[in-house]
Amino acid sequence: MFQSRAQKFARRYEKPNPDSRDRSEELKREIGEEETFFSLMRRMAHENKLAVFSAIVILLFILGAVFAPFLTRYSYHDMDLLNRLSAPSAEHLFGTDEAGRDIFTRLLYGSRVSLLTGVVPTILSMLGGAVLGVISGYHGGWADALIMRLADIMLAFPSMLLAMVIMYMLGGGLINVFLTLALVNWASVARIVRSEVLALKETEYVEAARVIGVPERTIMFRHLLPNCLPTMIVLFTLNVPSAILTESSLSFLGLGIQEPRSSWGLMVNAGRQFLYNAPWLSLVPSIAIMLIVLAFNFLGDGLRDVLDPYQKR
């Protein structure tokens, strides 16, 4: 949808014309430039430098997570009992923990967990929530009632407490954290998608498609879903940081990722007892969490500014 088909068309249909350049200039004056996905992104980059910076920060975190073994000489579980609780130095960039493990190294490996728990459960919950929301909004009737009452129930629990109960039920570990976060978050996604679908269903262009005789299913895929897309993208950038925060809180309470795996929340928790003599132990991973969450939030803001369909007119 976003590719520049105009150029393809120009090659195929437009006959060579001496004043074709004048004509295209005139076109541009009359109705503006062609809008593609890339021109949208360029506009965001131009208007919102912070969003670009955030994207770079996120990219750096991803690179750090992927190339962790090449970026550090230590391994995340090797203990150095002679060097316990040492302050940040050239040797250990962010110091060492109570077992003498290098914090920078554990931070790098921990970013794998944080990024994964940001993205994987969000994708799961958004897929599930979107499907249920579309069914609920488009089908209506008993399916709508059932799904929405279930969502009401899920949303009545404070998310942290619900996550705690589900983690208690499933037990700790990465996969279970994924499942828990997906279970906790699908309901709000379903609600938003449903209201979006309900609004889109009433638009004139959907009625226009019905006049033409386009089958209901095609209307759903050609007209409803693509128009939900901007909302979904923005929702995604909002849900990723919230998932990262929930995971870190769960791990902080000892209910999420289990030792010896490293996770930022877990590191904060472990460092808490040394808060007064070695504050870097819990502060460094905290700041890492804040940075990645902040970056996602800024990026989300930037995306919303250019994608928000309501601001276009």
Partner: protein, 319 residues
Amino acid sequence: MSEILIEGRNLTKEFTAGRKKKVHAVTDVSLQILQGETLGLVGESGCGKSTLGRLLIRLLKPDSGRLLVHGEDVTDLSDKEFGKYRRQLQLIFQDPYASLDPRLCVRDLIAEPLKTWHVCRTKEELTQRVLEKMEEVGVPGEYLYRYPHQFSGGQRQRIGIARALAAQPELIVCDEPVSALDVPVQNQILNLLNQLQESKGLTYLFISHDLSVVRHISDRVCVMFLGTICEIGKTQEVFQNPMHPYTRFLMNAILPPDPHRRNDQAELLSGEIPSAVNPPSGCRFHTRCPYADERCRREMPALQDAGDGHQAACHHTMN
């Protein structure tokens, strides 16, 4: 006499608005549209003209009454059985900003009916047909891959017309197609509609609140008030010789663009339009009608023919 294309018999449609409240949008309306004519449908906002337009192409299903296309009763057909009529009965919308999907480019928009009805075999053929349609409505072919929000109101309306044409319809319901446009642009669109009717033998149901526009484009005019038909007849007849008091008041409210013809003295309607939730008993117009008497409050008048198809629903038919 030309053939009857669409006939609605005693159509009634109500919408529920909240608890126990019903909006009586269309009440017991019978109407025929003849092949090749333009039937104008005028009335003020909320009089049910858009609803009637949608009932007549079965975009809405009536609560009661029958709908006949070419004499065949299609009221109770399933959507699938109705399919062959679907493409013959098209609609053009009032708001060219809202009726085009913002995420589809012009080519995809116009190609949608062609694809739905499997008219073309290859992609090249499809694009060629789209270009033809664009040329017919006067949108330059260079705009093929542009998106709706880049166009002006008039051009969007042309794209909407091209979409309707692509389905090769017999009847197009035009729902206030020019009321969002400035006068010169409005005239361009009206000219286009007239020219398309001539070249393709189309039938129009033209819905509008603007009497001058309706007068220009219609062969026959139908005046609605609060879900019922007040008057129907040949355009000349209705405009020069209105029989229903409401029609007369509508005529009085016309503002000619000529300072020499100010309507300072004309008698104007007073009061507000009654609510369609609780329509008045008897004649729906009696609360505002200066001629209303006891009978009007009690009894809803039926359409009476005054010759040559000119009918009015009033107990005190003028003249």
